[in-house]
Amino acid sequence: MEKIKIAIVEDNAEDSLVTRKYIEGYCLSHKINATVDDYSTAFAYLDSVQRYDALFLDIEMPHIDGMELAVEIRKHDSRVVIVFVTNMARYAVNGYRVDAIDYVLKPISGFDFFLTMDKVINSVERIRGEKTYVVKSRDGVTTLSVSDIRYIESLNHHLVFHTALGEREAYGYLKAVESELGDGFFRASSCYLVNLAYVKAVNGCDITVGDNVLKISRGKKRELIERLTDYYGGM
């Protein structure tokens, strides 16, 4: 497997070192190639431009706490694996809402932590198997899961990606995106590229994509229905 990038966000240097030792111990014994970076504050993490496969977050930290940081991360990134490492059990309920895969209580127990690492590695492998698309915009770079993209709209010389996480503006041309995304997407008109997985209905020249109704070019309708039939096995 390609190198796994892991970050620890933890204000206590000693605790950070303990977590690192356990992660490195696991990776060594399982022959996994990994790098571990550490950040002592949420700000430091947010300022970094690095992308990680998995994050180990402390919760109680000055300024932005680990839970707030996770909420912030999830606004842009549904993929990165999040694990909390904390001595505060009482935030455990909140962790589910940011799709944390585990919640580790300090002091870390070696045996339990190995189970946590098994889960982390499995999730990273699964997520890496998913196709992604990198979107560049004024706000920076966002990596989207292709399966999260509902449709892409071309609007006033820029693109709008309508995704499960909300809308993302981006630079680029629909034609270029179309050739990169390829199968599974259909160019419904000069300004829409739709993900076939989200097409719920075709009614005249209206197509329902997720909760939105879009217009399709008249000349494209037959091809769309053929593509959908191939995709689902139609009647």
Binding site: V202, N203, M235
Partner: protein, 233 residues
């Protein structure tokens, strides 16, 4: 249709949850069935027939956490939601990868978030089992487990789903070939039923929740065998 189970010893809480569930799904125009169990022991099997299982934790006898572990040992497909007034199991809950963990009393706003997570989960889980139906008004994607039954009158094939009836031109034989079997079963020359909707069978009448269909004499034995196999899994 999405299938839910509630395992909860407090009858009033179970009822509130059922009402909340049905209300939210109705607002989203999705059909559902809800089965309730008064304790963990009465919940048999690994629950894979349910899309999502809602579990109370503190119950007499086996508790909800132990039941969740038992379910996960054999079934990683169904979603689990803990609905409890015990915060202290929240850390332990991660072991069974639940969709959510709600603390009673259920607040409306909070439950809305849970329902969104539940619905996203169900949609993802069921998306692969969709088929395309070409109707007079256009093409529709229909989730197989939302189809109750399909019958035919004068070459019009009618898909009876939870929320609407879809009309298609064609032959039932072609449709049957493309549907997964199980849960679909050919009852007679003019009808295919989704076994998961069959409530009871009396003589040759098959009750699918409000509608009664007829099973052909020659098919009855096969129907009973198919049902037994479907639920015996």
């Amino acid at each position: 249709m999405f299938k839910f189970a509630i395992v909860e010893d407090n009858e009033a809480d179970a009822q509130t949850l059922e009402n909340n569930l049905k209300e939210s799904l109705k607002a989203m125009n999705v059909g559902c069935t809800v089965e309730k169990f008064g304790n963990a022991e009465s919940f048999r099997g690994d629950g894979r027939e349910y899309d999502v299982i809602f579990l109370d934790i503190e119950m007499p006898g086996m508790n909800g956490m132990a039941l969740a572990e038992k379910i996960r040992a054999a079934n990683s497909e169904s979603g689990i939601v803990f609905v409890t007034n015990m915060i202290r199991y929240a850390v332990q809950g991660y072991a069974v990868a639940p969709i959510d963990y709600i603390v009673k009393p259920i607040e409306r706003y909070d439950f809305g978030i849970t329902m969104k997570r539940v619905l996203d989960f169900c949609t993802r889980k069921n998306d692969l089992d969709s088929i395309l139906v070409k109707t007079g008004q256009g093409v529709r994607k229909v989730c197989c487990n939302q189809i109750r039954y399909i019958d035919v009158t004068l070459h019009h094939i009618i898909f009876h789903t939870d929320t609407e009836d879809l009309d298609m031109w064609g032959t039932l034989g072609d449709v049957e070939e493309k549907l997964p079997n199980p849960p679909f079963f050919r009852l007679s020359s003019s009808c295919i039923v989704n076994l998961s909707y069959v409530k009871n069978i009396k003589g040759y009448d098959v009750d699918v929740g409000g509608t009664v269909l007829r099973v052909a004499r020659s098919k009855k034995r096969a129907l009973l065998a198919a049902l037994a196999e479907y639920y015996g899994r």
